[in-house]
Assembly symmetry: C3
Homo-oligomer: 139 residues x 3
Amino acid sequence: MNYREVETTGEYLASLEHGADWREEIEALAESVDADAAWFTALGAVQDAELWFYDQAETEYYPVQFDEPLEVASCVGNVSLLDEERFAHTHAVLSRPSGQALAGHLDGGTVWAGEVYLRVFEEPLVREHDDETDLDLWL
Amino acid sequence: MNYREVETTGEYLASLEHGADWREEIEALAESVDADAAWFTALGAVQDAELWFYDQAETEYYPVQFDEPLEVASCVGNVSLLDEERFAHTHAVLSRPSGQALAGHLDGGTVWAGEVYLRVFEEPLVREHDDETDLDLWL
Amino acid sequence: MNYREVETTGEYLASLEHGADWREEIEALAESVDADAAWFTALGAVQDAELWFYDQAETEYYPVQFDEPLEVASCVGNVSLLDEERFAHTHAVLSRPSGQALAGHLDGGTVWAGEVYLRVFEEPLVREHDDETDLDLWL
């Protein structure tokens, strides 16, 4: 395990824009507050969502599209630099009217309403290619 | 997206009371520490739960009741003022003995055991009616 | 509800080691930074997982093993002292390629990749046996 002590430079609450993309809104927040490293948790609802599952044998992501309204029961992620752009690595747990839960890597989704808490850290996080997992990882 | 920088005035760990209501316990914690704005994450177990799903077409919440013991695998939410009362907006992911996950807006549930981390912010968060979503939103 | 105000002594970001155990990695992080009380959220993926469900009638944990790759869509937990050892109480929401979510108390799982944010508190958290729930609880 690799780790780094971090210094928080700011804390933010945000309300995501109805109709915008969930992940792009978090990246826009990071842009607005000049965050090259941050951690967030969030909740809300989306009008649709695209989850990605990482196939560990093929080392490829496979998308699954949900064209239906879903609650965002949990959302955890972080902001880092990937190819010099701010990237919000975003995992989420979604739910249907029955309470049935869906979950995974959230590539995107149309915001119904969203509430986010973001902490920004001083030192940038930079993603680099990791040969073992074929993922872009930080630290 | 709207956002606000926040200043933390206190951080708290809490153990929820066996037999009490999960959301009311978080609101009682907010009351005890005089929080008009806060963010929390939590975990534990409940003896039953009522999840609400927001129907985006009807703009109405519909409840689903689960009369069974469930793990609280994730709980994320925030405290704000709604009609001048402290309200804990609470989303949760619950699970059955098989590992099957249920999730959504947690209106309430009877605590078996619960562990909460709460950060309190200086400036109050106030919910007001939003015409587009028919929800009470802050910011 | 019992609560305690806490003072943060350090904040850390960690990348878990591919092939190691998810919970042991978090405990090793706590060991490295000398944490006797901490709170964490995390995300990533595992190659397999063992979830435990607490049977509230029998007051016993029952394990469910998943021998398959799973996304870690959410992970929330805390570090405390249990029998004088650091223990990472860890709940997680996992997901399958279809997006199907599984969740519960995560005893362990083989890390594919994992990203963790940990806050360390000054005063130790100590778990002691609670007669009502037959669990080891703090506060």
